[in-house]
């Protein structure tokens, strides 16, 4: 194990995979200068400007070209800078990348990874803060990944690059500087496998991405009150680890989902509905979801905070589910 950051881990993952497989290359804006957050620092010097390609500001062509290049024997890693800008390339991702293999009867694959930095991050406002993972989970053909720790950013990005399906890979902007340990040798985290971040018997708290850390803080506080929360970090949203979640709720009898995205039609709805369908009789309390209200994300902190799920909210929600308020 060695100390690293979430950003460094992603950088290392790409370096390792590019060294391992000459067909892997990356394309996006400003990659030669290290990318907008420094995730690509030094890579153009290491691999040359053909494999770390600086592109025009042409999101549709970045994504579309990656589709064509993936069909033609290479493994592109697409950098979208902010997930919000990927909205300029939705046809290319959803109508083309996701469907091509099926539509063409399995003649080929589209092995590409789209890195889409997501989430709220110091007053970035409505066009630079979104989390739209639910969209991609809804689209047949796509794999959706959202790592929360340095080790997972290393192991999942490597798995994503080796995956033959198109992967939407959502790094959280607020986690770039997060420090943690990562194994020194080859480290792969399988896609589709959740991480039980904390064990507990009283309630299952399902989460992913940056919300893992808020959830763990809340769980810590609740432990002080004698409430043992099991925190499950999904890590991959499609396919999500249904077995792990159902097994946990089978044990605890309670499900709370904590997500940064807008709650309405967010991916938490899929989890809550699935658990309610599968384990209705086992539930000691109704399933519950926490997420952002259905409002755009504002710039000023007092307004921005209203779109944030806080540790306090999680603590309160858990308390409410464990000891329901008496019905008046």
């Amino acid at each position: 194990m060695a100390g690293t950051t979430y950003l460094e881990a992603g950088r290392r993952a790409l370096i390792e995979e590019m060294e391992r497989d000459g067909s892997v290359w990356a394309l996006g804006e400003d990659l030669g200068r290290g990318g907008v957050f420094g995730q690509y620092r030094g890579l153009q010097e290491m691999f040359g400007d053909a494999r770390i390609a600086d592109t025009p500001i042409s999101e549709a062509c970045i994504m579309g070209a990656a589709v064509g290049a993936a069909m033609t024997g290479t493994r592109p890693v697409v950098e979208m800078r902010f997930s919000d800008f990927a909205l300029c390339a939705v046809d290319e991702l959803v109508n083309q990348a996701a469907k091509a293999r099926f539509m063409f009867g399995g003649q080929m694959r589209v092995p590409l990874v789209v890195r889409e930095p997501v989430g709220m991050w110091r007053s970035s406002a409505a066009q630079h803060s979104q989390s739209l993972e639910a969209w991609y989970a809804h689209i047949p053909g796509l794999v959706v990944v959202a790592p929360a720790t340095p080790a997972d950013n290393l192991g999942l990005l490597k798995s994503a690059i080796r995956c033959d399906d198109p992967v939407v890979y959502m790094e959280h902007k607020n986690l770039w500087g997060l420090e943690g340990q990562a194994p020194e040798g080859e480290h792969l985290v399988p896609l589709g496998q959740a991480d039980i971040a904390r064990e507990g018997r009283d309630l299952t708290l399902v989460t992913w991405s940056a919300m893992r850390h808020v959830s763990l803080l809340a769980a810590e506080r609740l432990a002080g009150q004698g409430i043992e929360v099991e925190v499950i970090d999904l890590r991959t949203l499609w396919p999500w680890d249904r077995e792990a979640v159902l097994a946990s709720v089978e044990k605890t009898g309670r499900l709370l989902v904590a997500q940064e995205a807008v709650s309405v039609a967010g991916f938490g709805a899929e989890i809550a509905a699935s658990v309610a369908e599968a384990l209705h009789a086992r539930l000691a309390a109704p399933v519950r979801r926490l997420g952002a209200p259905r409002i755009p994300i504002a710039y000023a902190p007092p307004l921005e905070d209203r779109a944030r799920v806080s540790e306090d909210q999680i603590v309160e929600a858990v308390q409410g589910m464990i000891a329901p308020a008496p019905v008046s």
Partner: protein, 339 residues
């Protein structure tokens, strides 16, 4: 016009029948394939919408025979001709249109998603202009792999008003990619005249403004298309970068096989029928000394072959319904586990 007409005659006199009789056969096969597809649509055998290219055959037939099998081709919703010309099996194509087992895409795609990766045909596309970035990316991969192949990306005049046209051509220039763009200009964006929707002098000027050499050719003259395509492919294969061909042509049918095209005069259609690219190639071959019997044979052989294709397709099985769950994705495979 006299100059070019007499030029054409001279060219025709020099024509190598050994090279152009197969081109004529190809054009008849395309024509016949589509006529039978239209007939089959009326019979309910073809299931979705089809966009015939009758009258536009010279573009496919002028370009594709100049390509290697390993060169790559990206096409549009109006792609039967391109696909046949690139070497796809007409039976597999007809099966695809009929939604049957053994279709190029196993019945999953239909006319608008026809593809045959085995002959470098990377797909028709249901989204206008979407094939441009994909074709550019295919060329980008060729360059990264230092392959000697080129990619050809064909699109309509309507696609020239979509953003991906600019993004793709600019990209091809910036990365100096081995890609040839072909604007197959039939004058219509679905049911609207493209002229009324298009600012400026046109696609050649747009390509040049993005740094690509571009050339206009008579898209109903397969000899002209052939000559321009050969030169372009040769230059691009040599490493001279991307370029564009603008082929002016006309579609004799409606936008889809169901479209009666009331938005244009019969006289206009007649004018263009008179410029039929197949008849023009036949005339040139006659001038080069090929006799009528040979021409008739060529036509009849193509038509008979396609009728057989249609009949075999008609008798084919439906695909197994379980296939609906196959080839979606490996990770999170819906065939392996119901989600």
């Amino acid at each position: 016009m006299n100059d070019s007409a007499s030029g054409r005659e001279a060219a025709a006199a020099n024509l190598d029948p050994g090279r152009f009789l197969p081109v004529l056969a190809l054009m008849w096969r395309i024509r016949s394939f589509e006529e039978l597809a239209i007939e089959s649509l009326r019979e309910g055998l073809v299931l979705g919408a089809i966009h015939p290219s009758i009258g536009q055959e010279a573009v496919a037939a002028g370009i594709c025979p100049n390509l290697w099998r390993t060169d790559l081709l990206l096409s549009t919703h109006r792609g039967h001709g391109h696909t046949l010309a690139k070497g796809a099996d007409p039976l597999a194509m007809m099966l695809e249109l009929f939604g049957r087992a053994g279709g190029t895409c196993g019945g999953k795609g239909g006319s608008m998603h026809i593809a045959d990766f085995g002959v470098g045909m990377l797909g028709a596309n249901g989204v206008v202009g979407a094939n441009i970035p994909i074709g550019v990316g295919a060329a980008h991969a060729l360059r990264l792999r230092r392959a000697g192949e080129v990619a050809v990306c064909i699109f309509g005049d309507g696609a020239v008003n979509r953003g991906p046209f600019l993004e793709g051509l600019n990209w091809a220039r910036v990365f100096d990619l081995p890609v040839i763009f072909v604007c197959e200009d039939n004058g219509f964006s679905a049911t609207t005249r493209t002229r009324s929707l298009t600012g400026g002098p046109g696609v050649v000027a747009r390509a040049e403004s993005l740094g690509l050499p571009a050339e206009a050719v008579d898209g109903n003259d397969v000899l002209a298309v052939d000559a321009a395509a050969r030169a372009a492919i040769k230059a691009t294969r040599r490493g001279e970068g991307p370029r564009l061909l603008h082929c002016r042509t006309y579609r004799i049918t409606g936008h889809t096989a169901a479209d009666q095209a009331p938005y244009r005069d019969a006289s206009e259609v007649e004018e263009w029928r008179a410029r039929c690219p197949i008849a023009r190639l036949e005339a040139a071959l006659r001038m080069a000394g090929v006799d009528q019997a040979r021409l008739d044979e060529t036509r009849e052989a193509a038509q008979a072959g396609m009728r057989e294709v249609r009949d075999r397709a008609r008798a084919a099985d439906w695909p197994d319904a379980a296939g609906a769950f196959a080839d979606v994705q490996d990770v999170g495979d819906p065939a392996a586990r119901a989600f």
